[in-house]
């Protein structure tokens, strides 16, 4: 049932609706400048991200790769507007990010759909909050559900869907606001390997349709290389950006890419960096306990 759901490319074109509040083209430039993020903990202040600077072009697909606990989600949350930097700034198209907003769609790892809303109501939520009529929001939701191949489940509750389907609803919900930036926090981390690789291909197809900026947090090297234009590697805590690796593999990409020599070259480069940082993170944890 799941593997047959190819992307319905024509969906957006076939069901035109007037609601397109933000034009995605040319927007979605993210600038992170000299940023420190500090958390207050019971053991005093904890430096989560240190001196991070990052420039992401509109329409670029960038992965944040690093060992767990390195602060990559924190960095992304500062772009989302959930976390305020202690030093430095985050700009979106030249404007300082002060709070979360519908111009930055978020996809979480799991359990982020509203369980009391049906699949369609979940997707319609963003447009409704943008102030469009409920009929209009309903039609936008239908369009995006058909884009991710889940029209049949429009009236189902999220808990009756598999994890992969739930994530597709999450992606549809984030896109229904036509965000210029898509922020994805390990969105496929809780899925099994087969579902994950299918979701990766789906995501690339959707992205090729919308061409919005994507910031994708992951600790999976294959995933980062497969999806990204660029991989930003972060060090173990405190998170610093230690490498910025361009991925010049041709698009459109399919899973066959995973076994090519060109893929291996990039993967090897990431592996070496990640292994070093993971060992450091491991030692830190051993010392802490």
């Amino acid at each position: 049932m799941m593997t047959t759901t190819r992307l319905n490319r024509a969906a957006v074109v076939e069901h035109p609706h007037s609601y397109r509040p933000r034009t995605v083209g040319g927007k979605g430039r993210i600038s992170v400048r000299d940023m420190d993020i500090v958390f207050a903990t019971t053991n005093g202040p904890h430096l989560a991200v240190e001196d991070a600077s990052l420039e992401i072009q509109p329409g670029e697909f960038v992965s944040l790769l690093g060992p767990s606990g390195c602060g990559k989600s924190t960095l992304m949350n500062s772009v989302a507007g959930f976390v305020k930097p202690a030093r430095g700034e985050v700009l979106l198209d030249g404007q300082a990010v002060a709070k979360p907003g519908p111009d930055r769609g978020m996809v979480f790892q799991q359990h982020s759909l509203f369980p009391w809303k049906t699949v369609k109501q979940n997707v319609a939520f963003g447009p409704l909050m943008a102030g469009v009529s409920s009929r209009e929001a309903d039609s936008v939701a239908s369009t995006f559900l058909s884009l991710v191949g889940l029209s049949r489940y429009a009236n189902a509750y999220p808990s009756t869907l598999s994890g992969g389907m739930q994530q597709r609803v999450g992606i549809a919900r984030a896109l229904a606001n036509y965000p210029s930036v898509l922020l994805m926090d390990e969105p496929f981390g809780a899925l099994d390997a087969q579902t994950r690789s299918m979701m990766q291909e789906n995501l690339l197809e959707i992205w090729s349709e919308f061409k919005n900026t994507v910031l994708f947090v992951t600790h999976d090297i294959d995933e980062a290389v497969f999806l990204s234009d660029r991989i930003v590697v972060m060090s173990a805590s405190p998170g610093r950006i230690i490498a910025d690796i361009p991925v010049r593999l041709p698009r459109p990409r399919t899973q066959e890419l995973l076994t090519t020599a060109a893929f291996m070259v990039v993967k090897r480069e990431c592996l070496a960096l990640i292994r070093e940082q993971t060992l450091r993170a491991f030692e830190q944890q051993n010392q802490a306990s």
Partner: protein
């Protein structure tokens, strides 16, 4: 903070890959509170019949060992008296009075309880202001309020309603606070990033999320409301099923005591059932989710 922990605790949906059913084709739609399998239903009736039989025997033969049954009318006498009462108008006047008081007191308690609970759950300041009152007043049983209620309230009716209201209020407040406190942070974040205002988050995220807990509070509150109502009616008042029961005792009309008790039990359960039934459409997402 509890994000990753929470996710590892919850059973993954991946364990059963394609369990999804398209909407509208859910089987077993009946969400009845009666058992769907009749054999269990029969067992329950049987269990009650056994008790009635024991009661009958104990009354007929004047069972007397620590507990005395000599003054307790048997089920047949009570049944006959019930039929007599059921055809008298006064009996229904008593029931009507009690129901009226419950409706007023409970309605007030639901509105005020949920509002206070949401305020306490959402605002630390509101919690610090309201919580001391709740903590001090909550353990005071309804009966202890009776003298003060009579002194303070303008009429007997209002003092009984006040006592009933207090009984229902606390479980509703406590459960609402509990439900609101447990709003998943992730969902609030998701709503915020979709452009929701604070008011929208309250309406679309906090309240629906708290609803299962609120409904539990409403059901408990209904039980306590009856409990408190009876206490009020026994001590003061001229009508009401509590008054009916107590005056039967003072007038040595023993079968009516038992009728009063059974009516109280029946109405209490019925009202609780009504509350649950009325709320169940709002919790459809839970029952449907649990089925797959």
């Amino acid at each position: 903070m509890s994000g990753p922990l929470e996710s590892s605790e919850r059973p993954s949906i991946e364990a059963s890959p394609v369990t999804a059913t398209p909407a509208g084709t859910q089987l077993g739609e009946s969400r009845s509170y009666l058992p769907t399998n009749w054999d269990r239903y029969l067992v329950r009736i049987g269990a009650l019949l056994v008790a009635a039989l024991g009661w009958h025997l104990a009354s007929t033969y004047g069972f007397d060992f620590f507990v005395r049954f000599e003054n307790v009318p048997g089920p047949l006498i009570v049944g006959a008296e019930f039929l007599a009462q059921a055809s008298s108008q006064e009996f229904y006047v008593h029931i009507l009075h009690s129901m009226q008081r419950i409706a007023m007191a409970y309605g007030l308690a639901v509105v005020i309880g949920v509002v206070l609970g949401v305020m306490m759950g959402r605002s630390r300041f509101a919690e610090d202001v309201i919580l001391p009152y709740i903590e001090i007043l909550r353990p005071i049983p309804a009966v202890a309020w009776i003298p003060l209620a009579i002194l303070m309230m303008p009429s007997e009716q209002s003092s009984i309603v006040f006592i009933t209201f207090l009984g229902a209020l606390f479980p509703i407040v406590i459960n609402t606070v509990h439900g609101v406190d447990q709003t998943p942070k992730m969902l609030v974040r998701a709503a915020r990033s979709l452009g929701a205002s604070n008011a929208a988050i309250l309406w679309h995220v906090v309240l629906p999320g708290a609803l299962p807990s609120i409904v539990a509070g409403l059901a408990i509150g209904m039980g306590v409301a009856w409990f408190s109502l009876l206490a009020g009616e026994i001590i003061s008042g001229q009508y009401g099923i509590g008054y009916f029961t107590w005056s039967a005792y003072t007038l040595v009309e023993y079968p009516k005591i038992i009728i009063g008790m059974l009516v109280i039990g029946g109405l209490g359960s019925l009202c609780t059932l009504l509350v649950r039934k009325a709320c169940s459409p709002l919790l459809r997402w839970q029952t449907e989710g649990a089925k797959s």
